[in-house]
């Protein structure tokens, strides 16, 4: 049976090979998507280039003394961001300690069948909504709710335990602790969501094996589930730390913008991001270049932390998928 192509196609058929337009549009569109993919990479490089380039003159002028200097005086042209670097790391670590404890506890509570699924979902959504509130609103809430609520307790602690370096100043208004507390609320959803994923990716078999051996619920959690998901949870903490380092508004409103290095939880301080937020709008020519240098330092720190976090998360997922069939 010989097939003649033309004979088989009914004369009223709408089928036809792609027209020249179809083919050229196909090529253009594919090229377009490739172009925008490249643009994403280009955008990241351009951001790095732009900030580093604008910071370059200040880097040349001030060098390393900028990182170790402790005064910020635009009139005398003296700039140092050591207090800001200290404040950034200190506030982020405090926030990580509080937010990490809460976040991981919540993740455990919401993945290990403590609650009926419906209630689990309700709490999960509430914790996710915490992330939806804009940071400037948290700042406003911090100023008018957290600080007044905290002040009596803080000053009582200062009076009675003032010899401990953490409490050696009184809380007169903005300060490190209210800032770190609000910051911890803001990193909590990240930490709890990422560690919830890590916890729920632990195979059920492992948990059931532990129960079968007679473990109590928490012996199973502490002995089996947490160690298995440790990499993922650690990644969650690192990502939360990265979030805390770059958070701006709540800190700019609550930390007090004071250039000092202090261990005290109640003394005002400053962070790199808050410094940028507060000084940039009114900066002169020289201060602007210097602020670009501060932005460069902030970018270097956050990029480093996020790189480490992403690497850990990648290892966590490949580790689990490699081990479990």
């Amino acid at each position: 049976m010989a097939i003649s192509l033309e004979g088989d196609v009914p004369s009223d058929s709408v089928a036809s090979p792609p027209s020249t337009f179809d083919i050229s549009w196909d090529r253009t569109f594919r090229g377009l998507t490739r172009f925008f993919s490249w643009m994403t990479i280009f955008l990241v490089l351009y951001i790095l280039y732009e900030i580093a380039g604008k910071a370059f003159p200040a880097v040349q002028e001030f060098g390393l003394s900028f990182v170790t200097g402790t005064t910020w005086d635009a009139n005398r042209g003296e700039f140092g961001v050591f207090p800001e670097i200290w404040g950034t790391l200190y506030s982020s670590l405090l926030a990580l300690a509080i937010g990490g404890f809460f976040g991981i506890s919540i993740a455990i509570f919401l993945t290990q069948d403590f609650l009926p699924p419906r209630l689990e979902l309700v709490f999960k959504n509430i914790v996710e909504l915490l992330a939806a509130i804009p940071s400037v609103v948290y700042g406003l809430w911090g100023i008018y709710v957290v600080i007044p609520a905290m002040r009596p307790t803080a000053n009582w602690v200062h009076e009675h335990l003032g010899w401990i370096p953490f409490f050696k100043t009184s809380l007169s208004g903005p300060g490190m602790l209210p800032a770190a507390l609000v910051l911890s609320i803001m990193v909590l959803p990240t930490i709890s969501a990422v560690s919830r994923d890590a916890l729920s990716s632990v195979p059920h078999k492992l948990k059931e094996a532990a129960f079968g051996l007679g473990a109590t619920r928490w012996e199973a959690i502490l002995g089996v589930i947490l160690p298995t998901s440790a990499t993922g949870i650690f990644g969650a903490l690192v990502l939360g730390f990265g979030r805390a380092l770059g958070e701006t508004m709540a800190l700019a409103m609550l930390v007090g913008n004071s250039n000092q290095v202090s261990l005290s939880l109640f003394s005002p301080a400053n962070t790199l991001a808050a410094l940028l937020a507060n000084n940039f709008p009114e900066a002169g020519q020289q201060e602007e270049g210097v602020l670009m240098y501060a932005a460069l330092i902030l970018m270097a720190i956050t990029l480093l932390v996020n790189l480490v976090g992403t690497a850990i998360m990648n290892r966590a997922s490949s580790h689990l998928s490699g081990e479990v069939k």
Binding site: S37, M39, W141
Partner: protein, 319 residues
Amino acid sequence: MNDSDSNNSAGIDSDSEEIELTRSFADVDFPRLERSLRHPRTLFSSGLSLMTGIVTVVACIPLFSVLIMLMYRGGKRLGLELLTETPPSAFESGGGFGNAIVGTLTMVGIAALIAVPFGILAAVFLAEFGPKSKTASAVRFCAKLLTGFPSILAGVFAYAAVVLLTGTYSAPAGGIALSILMLPIVLLTAEESIKMVPKKMKEAAIGMGATQTQVVWKVILPTALPGMLTGVMLAVARAAGETAPLLFTALNSNYWIVQDGELALMEPTASLAVLIFNFSGVPFESQIELAWAAALVLVLIVLIINIGGQLLSRKRVLR
């Protein structure tokens, strides 16, 4: 227990069996097997359960505290004049922030116009045309870096790249700063939702002779639309609440973006978030009240967009 089992199955010498049985049961310490709070193990376990439960409930307090304070302090001022008037100066009472709402919408709109096509086209490449290519993994890596990128640095970048170039603070500069924050959200969620489109549907279209581009436009994008919309709405909600990138790109303004019938796009532009920030630190009661009212409006906008986006994706899962 094992001993008694084996003896049962043997079951010839009844006397020795009875002795064996009682002895093996005597070995078992029954009170220890009961679940009772008197044992340190169970006590420890229940204690920790209680603690995590309390911690979870405590973590919900800030959300409700914020919402209640917003309604209490911001709700007082709710009224139509908030939407139609411009902010008061220090000693005036009344006023509103209509210009800031318009400004926020304008800048989020500009940001969405840039980030949505950009992100979705890149996502189509990542999910369809070259999912395993080196470009794709590099793009994914860059997008993940951008998710963790501090918002203030997006502002610094837009300042350096746009404000210094155009010589003025403007709405487009603010929009560009916001688009950098929206891009990774749009891109990564769009990629995920395109990947969820069943392979069969694509193959059916290819089998009928469609070009890859036709498959994308006629099959993949319509099917993945709800998921992509969720991503877009989450990104819009995030951008609407951002302050830091606008502080020194759009600055602030007490005037409407449309002045005397002319669109003043290349001028400093007001936004809700920056207005809240500026008014939060002032000693004037009427401006502080306005900051609370603006915060209430902002949170309402953000929450509505957010919940709307999540409902979209939930519907998709049910179907």
